[in-house]
């Protein structure tokens, strides 16, 4: 029997993988992909809670509308972020975050 806890743990593991990717990798595109993994982990737990809170035989659709908004914002974020990465690559010819240290203290 699959319970809510299983979904929450799987989503937590996915979030941790994404978080580890952001912390460990130095390629800015891989960091960006790991960010997407973290967003999707949050979506999974939202949908699991929506399925858990059954009201009059229907899942709680407020959470699914929220997931819809998150996906839209994430798509806009990916477009802008990749445009920034392309602009950065044109200026500096690198995608390695350690080569971009002008703002580093």
């Amino acid at each position: 029997m699959i319970t809510l806890g299983d979904y929450l743990i799987v989503s937590g593991l996915l979030f941790t993988i994404g978080f580890a990717g952001v912390m460990l990798r130095r390629n800015i595109i891989i960091i960006f992909m790991s960010l997407e993994l973290m967003l999707n982990a949050a979506n999974l737990s939202l949908v699991a809670f929506s399925r858990f809170r059954v009201d009059a035989g229907l899942p709680n659709y407020n959470a699914q509308v929220f997931v819809f908004f998150i996906i839209t914002v994430a798509a806009a974020e990916v477009a802008v972020g990749l445009a920034i990465i392309v602009a950065l690559f044109r200026a500096r010819r690198t995608t390695h975050v350690e080569d971009i240290a002008s703002l580093k203290f």
Binding site: T3, N27, R51
Partner: protein, 167 residues
């Protein structure tokens, strides 16, 4: 959905999610991300969220991944050269991620209703796209319009950023 299918898709999602982080080649990372997103869409369908599952396939596995692959092609990224690894920073990153995982396990394990099965759904005559759509256009009409403006702003921003010379 049977527990076997749940564990297969959850395992695939986590395995290819780890593949995104561990691959040295950015194209291999992007393709692992596609498999991870498709398994996640299967998990959404297992939660009876068919609309979200289809949106996941269309937006993430379709549009976002094409964008990623296109940018990798445009920048002509190769397999990363192995640089000197900063062991202290790597150990710190792994320690923080492990602490986060342990914390999530602890919280999810101690949740009061974490061991309860999902309650059954009533056999509904309308599908969930209908329900989400009516909720979106009635209760969440203003946020929906604001999201539309946000997407427009993002489009204009991308066009401005992509111009050759920035002023």
């Amino acid at each position: 959905m049977s527990p076997v299918l749940f564990w297969i898709f959850a395992g695939l999602m986590l395995l290819f999610g780890a593949g995104v982080v561990l691959n040295r080649n950015p194209v291999a990372s992007a393709l692992s991300l596609v498999v991870s997103f498709l398994s996640l869409a299967a998990l959404f369908m297992s939660l009876d969220a068919y609309f979200i599952g289809i949106i996941q396939v269309l937006v993430y596995a379709g549009a976002v991944m094409v964008l990623f692959l296109f940018i990798i092609m445009l920048l002509d990224l190769r397999v990363e050269k192995i640089r000197k690894i900063n062991w202290l920073a790597s150990a710190g990153g792994i320690a923080v991620a492990l602490a986060l995982a342990i914390q999530i396990f602890y919280v999810a394990g101690n949740l009061r209703f974490a061991r309860q099965p999902f309650p059954p759904l009533a056999r509904s005559t309308v599908d969930d796209v209908h329900n989400i759509g009516s909720l979106l256009f009635e209760n969440y009409n203003l946020p929906f319009q604001i999201i539309g403006v946000l997407v427009l702003v993002a489009t204009i921003g991308v066009v401005v950023l992509s111009k050759r010379e920035l002023r």
